[in-house]
């Protein structure tokens, strides 16, 4: 199994619920200020200065994740401005024409694909190498999937968005090969666009086949999909060539939980136990109750504990509080499982066999 390598040597409980996060995390205010200074032509704050600031932020937030007690950490995506823009800037064939509206006064620089897409400079390899060198815990790499990159761009160059997605899948594949070579063992592919167009699950599946074709078996692959109607993509997604699905359920109070009970969930489940869009820190008890809901779907051996989604929109202290309580709750549930104190759900019964 790909998950045993992430169990910390000092882990006390017999059961192990892998704790991690989805990826993004609130940036320190000074990093925003540093970016503004770097963008200001009249300011002497140059590329080297900004690089140093990003390194400092990456180091700081990686350690913040470790301090919260997470088993697998990320650097909070301190170097990334946005989940599509960041990658499109590094892909040949993309250009930018200016910001477009998402909602209200929130905009993003939506790229236009104007020519054949080609792999140019690396996307995340140096980010991974830096984080892995800083971290004492294993590092996960979140990467935006090709279907979302295609869907959230203007497609000027390809006949269909599907064709563009497959071409981008080849580039994602190249990047993942580089990440694996650099030592990455846990890669999470983010495909939030699938939630808006669930009928396209076959396209996402085909993209994943292309991405994962040459990935060694000991590399853990996860797919993150959030804020959609899961009944329209389940159980089809069980056919996808990944080890784990990371889903958001806390936000709507687990109303879609039953979707995953039939047929049996055969992959590992990374289960959202705190809401990424509510500004209060859930209590340890509340999170424990949420984790028990996950045990109705999969046995503990298949369970990963995670927030619903990236935490970057929260105040930083709230983001930290959620991670800390999430870890504490997972450890408490492990202890309860060890002690046989948790009355098993149906899947739990299977696990006890």
């Amino acid at each position: 199994m790909t998950r045993d390598q992430f169990r910390p040597p000092e882990h006390d409980n017999e059961h192990f619920l892998l704790t991690t996060v989805v990826g993004s995390y609130p940036k320190p205010k000074w990093l925003h200020r540093a970016r503004d200074m770097w963008n200001d032509d009249e300011n002497s704050f140059d590329d080297d200065d900004f690089e140093e600031a990003k390194n400092d932020a990456s180091r700081l937030i990686t350690k913040e994740h470790e301090r919260a007690g997470l088993d697998v950490v990320v650097d909070g995506e301190m170097r990334r401005n946005e989940m599509v823009e960041y990658f499109a800037h590094r892909i040949d064939g993309c250009e930018f024409n200016g910001p477009v509206k998402v909602w209200g006064h929130n905009y993003f620089d939506k790229p236009s694909v104007v020519d054949e897409v080609e792999y140019d400079e690396e996307w995340l390899i140096s980010e991974y190498e830096f984080t892995a060198a800083v971290a004492d815990r294993p590092v996960k790499v979140p990467i935006t999937g090709p279907y979302t990159l295609a869907n959230w761009s203007f497609n000027e160059a390809y006949e269909t968005d599907e064709e563009l997605a497959y071409e981008l899948a080849e580039l994602v594949n190249e990047e993942i090969e580089g990440l694996v070579e650099a030592g990455a063992r846990y890669i999470q592919i983010d495909e939030p666009a699938l939630a808006t167009t669930p009928d396209d699950h076959a396209i996402v599946g085909e993209c994943l086949e292309r991405i994962t074709a040459d990935v060694p078996a000991d590399v853990r692959l996860c797919l993150h999909v959030c804020y959609g109607d899961y009944s329209r993509i389940y159980p089809e997604i069980l056919e996808f060539p990944v080890d784990e699905f990371d889903i958001e359920l806390c936000n709507k109070d687990y109303e879609q939980l039953d979707v995953f009970k039939d047929p049996e969930f055969t992959k590992d489940l990374a289960f959202g136990v705190v809401d990424a869009h509510v500004g209060e820190v859930e209590s340890v008890e509340e999170i424990e109750a949420n984790i028990r809901k996950a045990l109705e779907v999969v046995p503990p051996e298949q369970l990963t504990i995670s927030p619903d989604c990236g935490l970057k929109l929260l105040p930083r202290e709230v983001g930290y509080g959620k991670m800390e309580n999430l870890v504490q709750a997972a450890r408490n549930v492990e202890a309860d499982l060890d002690a046989g104190e948790i009355s098993a759900g149906q899947s739990q019964a299977v696990a006890d066999d």
Binding site: N97, G98, P99, K101, W103, G104, S112, N151, E156
Partner: protein
């Protein structure tokens, strides 16, 4: 001889300078978005933006000019979202796009409040002729909102139509009134239909005749050419027939997203003497040439039985806010030049 009139669907993106300015003035959380009580400084920015958008359209050479609807933070849901009798709640997805608006919930009686009329009054003072008003079609506006006051979907739709009619009745003189009606394609009225029921409580309860009546209510309130423009596909046959039953001067067809199904509707069931055609892609930065636009017009007129149309309104196939500012300007020129080709040909 068919006359091609170049114009737009409105809902322009804010100019880039104003994006930041307004975000700084208003904030960027949902409680900061536009409401009935804007401060003077913010209104002044919107007045300036309105003048800029009108100038951009005039510079491009469009035959008809719109106000631009820069204030419409909630896109087509705007007339409800700013209304005193409406509460705005969570952020919800805007059709099948990666865009969101505040869900407007009607909690009291809807009466005309003059919000859109005030925008047009200011625009009218800057446009000598060819001013075009843009509103959501009553069906689409009702569909984007949620009713917690009227109780009955048909009554709610009729009330939304009356509200819009009151609003339109207060407009200054306009040449045309363009009603954007994507919900007629995306979530069509289903009451009495055999297929597709059970998808949505609002559309399940609305009969086609109620859509005809709602459009008539609004069309009767203005002394202008009334154009109904559905988009993101083609109308189903029954809805197409019900819209044609309404007292409208032109029905629209989105030739970018579903050219064949739209032409089929016209071939089989006929259409109005004037038509609006969605000819340039409002959701892709690829800029079409004027010749391509002309070919699309010729293809439509050549494929449909009518010998000749009176007026073809040449428009982008969707609202314009999906595009960056520079591409909007380029597409306006394409439309204006396509109409110009007609004159010089």
């Amino acid at each position: 001889m068919t006359r091609i009139v170049s114009t737009t669907t409105g809902l322009y993106p804010l100019p880039d300078t104003a994006k930041e300015e307004l975000s700084d003035l208003k904030g960027n959380q949902k409680e900061d978005l536009i409401g009935p009580d804007l401060d003077d400084e913010t209104e002044a920015v919107y007045d300036r933006v309105r003048a800029e958008l009108i100038e951009t359209q005039a510079d491009a050479g469009l035959n008809q000019v719109v106000e631009g609807q820069a204030r419409w933070d909630d896109m087509l849901a705007h007339p409800l979202a700013v209304h005193e009798a409406v509460e705005t709640r969570g952020i919800v997805r805007y059709y099948d796009n990666n865009n969101f608006y505040r869900e407007p919930v009607v909690t009291d009686e809807l009466t005309a409040d003059g919000d859109v009329a005030a925008e047009l009054d200011d625009a009218a003072s800057q446009v000598d002729d060819g001013l075009q008003a843009v509103l959501p079609g009553p069906y689409s506006l009702a569909d984007l909102g949620t009713d917690e006051y009227y109780g009955d979907p048909a009554e709610y739709l009729a009330a939304v139509a009356e509200f819009l009619a009151g609003e339109a009745g207060a407009f200054p003189d306009v040449e045309t009134l363009l009603l954007l009606d994507p919900s007629l394609v995306e979530n069509p009225p289903r009451a009495g239909y055999d297929e597709g029921e059970g998808e949505d409580a609002f559309s399940d309860a609305i009969e086609g005749e109620a859509v005809t009546d709602a459009i008539d209510t609004l069309a009767g309130a203005v002394d202008a050419e009334v154009v109904v423009y559905p988009y993101w596909g083609a109308l189903d046959e029954k809805t197409h027939a019900h819209v044609l039953d309404a007292d409208v001067d032109a029905l629209g067809y989105d030739l970018v997203s579903e050219p064949d199904d739209n032409v089929y509707n016209v071939q089989e069931y006929g259409t109005t003497d004037d038509v609006a055609l969605g000819l340039v892609d409002g959701q892709n930065t690829l800029v079409e040439s004027p010749e391509t636009v002309r070919e699309r017009v010729d293809w439509f007129t050549g494929s449909t039985p009518s010998e000749e149309y009176g007026t073809v309104y040449a428009v982008p196939n969707t609202e314009l806010f999906y595009l960056p500012e520079n591409k909007v300007e380029a597409k306006l020129e394409t439309l204006a030049n396509a109409a110009h080709l007609e004159v010089t040909a």
